[in-house]
């Protein structure tokens, strides 16, 4: 039993002592079951308790419900159940803090609430690692909602940048696996542009967006084969030119931010080369060749 749980049980046991006389009070019974580690029974009882007129607006009841569901979340056998329990825990802890005008339970409730909020973000990151973008987006929305619910002025920009950059990378990987599915390309562009809208100087988003556009243009040209005739070649080039032109300002921006990065020098060399601007391409190739090895960071 961890320290927070011990303290919580001790506090609640003390506060609920007068109620304990009343046989069959579901709140008291729920606490007993919780103390005994019988989470499932504790859940049933605490759900009954918060519906009872005596406890519906009782912050103690909502705090206990929050802890019961938080522990149920941690020991849930499936992800679906865990998600469900965590959502209930968040709602309960938030209710507790809303009803607790004296601030008696605020520290305990907030500590648990913050833990659960962080777990949404961690799960979003885990889902991205598993390429599960749907769950990742849902978890991140839950994280945002939970954070802003408690603190409407919270600054989530850094977290959003971190998440959207990683999300863009997942969409890019998906697009690279199936380049006929342009939905992934569009979603990757959207993710990176969201980052740039928040932070125009974000190196990763600028570089990744430029690379995404550039690769799309190259991929278009790579699709040329012996069955394509000259008019088709011209059309394909015109389409690719648009992607190369889209890529250029973002790669230039990334290069301006860090002029000694090999990846941006090569990126610009490639973009200009594909735009048939040999002189500019050569210029960046020379800058790349001149770079001493120790500058490769």
């Amino acid at each position: 039993m961890n320290m927070a749980r011990r303290i919580l049980i001790a506090v609640l046991a003390l506060l609920l002592a007068p109620w304990a006389i009343a046989q069959g009070d579901p709140l008291v019974e729920a606490l007993r079951k919780y103390q005994a580690g019988e989470l499932e029974k504790a859940r049933e009882l605490i759900d009954l308790a918060v519906q009872a007129p005596d406890h519906a607006t009782d912050p103690e009841a909502w705090l206990l419900r929050g802890f019961v569901y938080k522990d149920a979340y941690k020991s849930a056998s499936t992800t679906t159940l865990a998600d469900e329990f965590r959502d209930e825990a968040i709602v309960s802890l938030f209710s507790c803090m809303g009803l607790d005008s004296a601030g008696t339970y605020r520290d305990n409730a907030k500590q648990a609430y913050d833990f659960l909020t962080r777990s949404y973000f961690n799960d979003a990151a885990k889902a991205l690692n598993e390429m599960d973008d749907v769950r990742a987006v849902h978890m991140f929305e839950q994280y945002e909602d939970a954070t802003l619910k408690l603190n409407p002025d919270a600054d989530l920009r850094l977290r959003k940048i971190e998440f959207k950059n990683a999300l863009g990378t997942v969409f890019t990987k998906r697009f690279n696996m199936d380049r006929t599915n342009l939905e992934w390309f569009d979603r990757a562009v959207e993710a990176y542009k969201e980052v740039i809208a928040i932070d125009a100087d974000n190196y990763g988003a600028n570089y990744n967006l430029a690379t995404l556009y550039y690769n799309r243009g190259v991929y278009n040209i790579q699709g040329i084969n012996a069955d394509d005739e000259i008019p088709t070649i011209l059309q394909i080039q015109e389409v690719s030119r648009e992607f190369f032109q889209e890529a250029l300002p973002y790669m230039l921006k990334a290069h301006d931010m860090n002029p000694t990065r090999r990846e941006t020098l090569l990126g610009l060399e490639g973009i200009y080369y594909s735009l048939q601007d040999q002189q500019s391409s050569d210029k960046f190739r020379e800058l790349f060749e001149e770079l001493p090895p120790e500058e490769d960071r």
């Binding site: 040209i221 000259i230 008019p231 011209l234 030119r241 048939q276």
Partner: protein, 178 residues
């Protein structure tokens, strides 16, 4: 004076801009486009010399390893008319063997004055990629126009090599020199 432009350009190309690390062939968009253009051009040109209408259709490449690779990868199993395409990577020398199409890349422009002399009146179409190439004797020259790769051609040079350029080829060219 005819080749002055090439001679002036040569040091620049040979020493200043040739990349030390070759470009990844898969991302060499110019090589991909040039290979397709060469294949399509070959289909739309008639070689008057009967000797050129039998055997393999030979495309020689000097320099431009990526163009050579692309031609091998995409077009070496194709035919021009009934002639199977044969792509040859030629050594960097002006002593070139006979072929239907000879491409000389920008890294080897210094060889061109001699190549033009050697190929004079022979049924070989010289294709290259520098400004003013048609004036020097090339039949087809790749040009960069508004960020696109296009080609220009010289009908008089074609005639000197016994080549009849098709109407479609003329219509699609960026510029046709009569």
């Amino acid at each position: 004076m005819r080749y002055l432009r090439i001679l002036l350009l040569t040091p620049f190309f040979l020493f200043a801009t040739v990349p030390q690390q070759p470009r990844d062939a898969e991302k060499d968009t110019t090589a991909i486009l040039q290979a397709n253009y060469i294949y399509n051009i070959a289909k739309l040109v008639e070689w008057k010399d009967p000797a050129m209408r039998t055997g393999n259709f030979v495309i020689g490449v000097i320099g431009s390893a990526n163009l050579y690779q692309e031609l091998i990868k995409q077009y070496s199993t194709r035919t021009i008319g009934k002639q199977p395409i044969e792509v040859r990577k030629l050594p960097r020398t002006a002593e070139v063997e006979s072929c239907h199409i000879l491409f000389v890349g920008r890294a080897d422009l210094a060889l061109l004055p001699d190549i033009y002399k050697r190929m004079a009146n022979k049924p070989t179409m010289v294709v290259t990629e520098y400004e003013g190439a048609l004036d020097d004797g090339a039949v087809v020259n790749f040009v960069k126009v508004e960020n696109l790769l296009k080609y220009e051609m010289s009908l008089s040079n074609a005639q000197k090599h016994g080549l009849v350029m098709g109407l479609t080829l003329k219509n699609l060219a960026h510029r046709v020199e009569e």
